[in-house]
Symmetry: C2
Subunit: 468 residues, 2 copies
């Protein structure tokens, strides 16, 4: 684990504290329980509490918090719900955490344009509940019930990305507070634009290092007339991946296609009381009109059969579908039961699909020599997969071995023209990997952008790209 | 017309010329015909020749040209085929034009991953011809047979964008030469990534002002099993737009849906010897499996009928489809015949589709008082439309009136939460409109990025955002 205890810190002074208190009253706190909560995410790093937490209720609050941090030259770390995976929200250089969870209003639903505008603290599931009556839904589903500001900040995706894209494709516009405390809007609500630099896509995935996202306008989609799911087992991973390649080359619009290895299937069977055949399998979902869904599923079935697929099982009823997909969504928790009390670490590479089977198989070979259990799930249509490693919390050796596995995996993915992170982001954990992936010259471009937009290095410092 | 004759110029010195000659030999030219050709695009601006033209054959050539321009502190303007619409490639501050048309190799076709990698000078039609045997195609079609580097630089789109997206969604990765002459790759070939700032999307649409795009990796798509087209007339524009809104809200995946006003239909009938009913009409195309296409077209027809749509005419055969779509593609030339010898000027706003009918109708009211003819076509699924105005080449008054119409149109679009350019870009013509759309604070963010990545203001200066 990278150590951040020794980093130079910029702590809030007594006078700075007094000004925050005067500005925010009880919405500014130095309570240790709250500080610790805001110094914890889903990464394996130890807790790293900020000096204080401020709860923003409005864009004006965010502006004032930025101005105070500029005035006192301390870091400001935006915080949604703390579900990031790579240490994104840890205040490793000290400073104030800006909690956006109270900015949780849905501002506008424009059904004719299929857009919604929400405050950054709105949660994914809340959004879908609040727009259900319109017949629209927001498809991006990273697993966690994350905040939409956080999802934009990490360029999140998940199981629906093969059909609907990621946050990159589904954020229409952002309202952002800059490091100077200016409020900008990155784009209009037009579906497309050639109007200047793409500030929307620049802030999406910038992990709070270039500005604070306070509002997000998103594309939403009509709830499909019909949905069907299917599960199909294969003798080998290669057969499963070849099926997906053929399905995509046929242009069959699959909405989701998830891979589980035999270990993941075993874990899910136990956790969710299922009796799936314990071989590599694919879990499909099709969205569309009744006739189109039936046709596409039939075509997909024929392709899987040509690759030795077994037991193509249909689940057209909502409850059967839900049972299957709930099991998939609980795969993480099912994995935890493989070694109760263990620390779970997830990898996150993404490669061109033509290299996916190779990449997974080489990784399995590497992992089979390790002293800890693991399982693999993947968003196979995108070439993205996760190894969940279950580590003995007390074992420095297991931690070190898992980091070496991860590093070899990332190198393997980069050599296959893939990326060190498909959807989790860089945070502090993958900064070295980012350098390996992009090279120093591209990193220099990123660093210049950071210097240009946040010259005092106030906004979530020490993440994505080093200052020097 | 904005004047650029009075701008401060940075011209290449005799010694600079000697170094270019020594480096590039005959691929460096000061021939006036070539200079004039490279000082002309599809904008209405007068010719603005560069000091010289250099023809690059390789990335190394581009690096050397950048280094020489840095050394002699003169502008470098990348040039694909000169089809830009807003003065993007005019060397308004002097300097050297970098012609990339000889970099026209297709570098890789990765059929399993549905990606292709091409040099920046490859033309759109060339790409589709060269990959036809793979069963894949590249859908983005801005009308002109533009270069793919140029299309990336202007974030181009066109008639297929409603289904396949724009260059924003379809550029996977770029190879870029920076202002320092470093060669970077903006991304891997993975379908998605959360690895740092989205440099790909930053360079897409940056119009050559942040770096020189030398290679483009693109998403390609399986040629659909079935394609059908249909044309449908309406009594009013509002009925046509309401039909499209309902079709999209139903989730019917229309591949293209184009609007023509009665003037455009008249012009197209004359030019292409068609006998379309001369009312507002929609031209549809559906892509997919045979059954899905039939189903979607049937559903679309029912929706149009509920809005008074007439004569829903099918064109399932390739030649009938081709006849209709060729007519659409020739609408620009058909428009020129409305006033032979006239200068054609096209507007390019894009608004949320809920405001499209209003925006077009208010614009028609404005235009009806003008002394010049016009017609309107639109990528209605995206909310993007173009007014083609046919101006007397000699009349300063008509030019001034048309600029006022355009300005009012842009303001109208911005007030409707739209953009000053859906697909043509900013160039020099829309810099003031960009400011109205984004505001000074967002423009300041863009300007900081320009300053950070091109501190000597070498790369296509004076475009998108002013230096100061």
């Amino acid at each position: 684990m990278q150590l951040y205890e020794n980093r130079p810190k910029r702590h809030l002074s007594e006078q700075g504290i007094a000004e925050f208190v005067s500005e925010f009253g009880e919405r500014f706190t130095q309570n240790m329980a709250l500080r610790e909560q805001h110094g914890t995410d889903e990464s394996p790093y130890p807790v790293c509490p900020p000096d204080a937490v401020v709860f923003a209720s409005s864009t004006d609050d965010v502006v004032r918090a930025v101005q105070l941090c500029q005035r006192w030259q301390v870091p400001l770390i935006p915080f949604g719900i703390g579900s990031s995976m790579e240490g994104h929200i840890l205040p490793i250089e000290g400073g104030v955490t800006l909690d956006l969870s109270r900015m949780n209003q849905i501002i506008a639903v424009n059904a004719e344009d299929a857009t919604v505008t929400v405050q950054a603290g709105v949660l994914r599931q809340q959004l879908n509940e609040e727009i259900r009556h319109t017949g629209l839904f927001f498809p991006i589903d990273p697993g966690a019930n994350a905040s939409l500001g956080g999802m934009a900040s990490t360029r999140a995706s998940g199981t629906n990305a093969v059909r609907y894209g990621t946050m990159r494709e589904n954020v229409v516009s952002l309202k952002v507070v800059t490091a100077e405390g200016k409020v900008i809007r990155t784009s209009s609500r037009a579906r497309k634009s050639s109007a200047g630099y793409d500030l929307t896509r620049l802030y999406v995935g910038s992990e709070g290092t270039l500005g604070i996202i306070v509002e997000v306008t998103l594309r939403v989609y009509p709830v499909p007339e019909a949905i069907s799911a299917a599960v199909c087992n294969f003798a080998t991973l290669q057969d499963a991946v070849s099926s997906v390649i053929d399905i995509m080359q046929m242009g069959i619009p699959v909405a989701r296609v998830e891979f589980m290895d035999d270990r993941a299937v075993r874990a899910v069977n136990r956790h969710s009381q299922l009796n799936l055949r314990e071989t590599p399998l694919l879990l499909f979902e099709f969205h569309g009109s009744t006739a189109a869904v039936a046709e596409h599923a039939q075509q997909a079935q024929e392709i899987t059969q040509s690759h030795g697929g077994m037991d193509f099982e249909w689940a057209e009823k909502a409850e059967e579908r839900s049972r299957l997909w709930t099991a998939r969504h609980k795969a993480y928790f099912a994995g935890l039961q493989m070694r109760p009390g263990a620390r779970s670490v997830s990898t996150d590479v993404c490669v061109p699909i033509s290299r996916l089977a190779d990449c997974v198989m080489q990784t399995v070979t590497d992992l089979e020599g390790m002293p800890f259990p693991f399982k693999i799930v993947g968003h196979v249509g995108d070439g993205n997969f996760h190894v969940q490693m279950l580590l003995d919390e007390q074992s420095e050796n297991e931690w070190a071995l898992s980091e070496e596995v991860n590093h070899r995996l990332v190198r393997r993915a980069i050599q296959m023209d893939g990326t060190c992170t498909g959807e989790h982001g860089i945070g502090i954990h993958k900064m070295e990997f980012l350098k390996e992936e992009h090279g120093e010259d591209a990193l220099d471009v990123m660093r210049r952008i950071k210097h240009a937009l946040d010259p005092a290095n106030i906004l979530n410092p020490g993440k994505i790209v080093s200052w020097d």
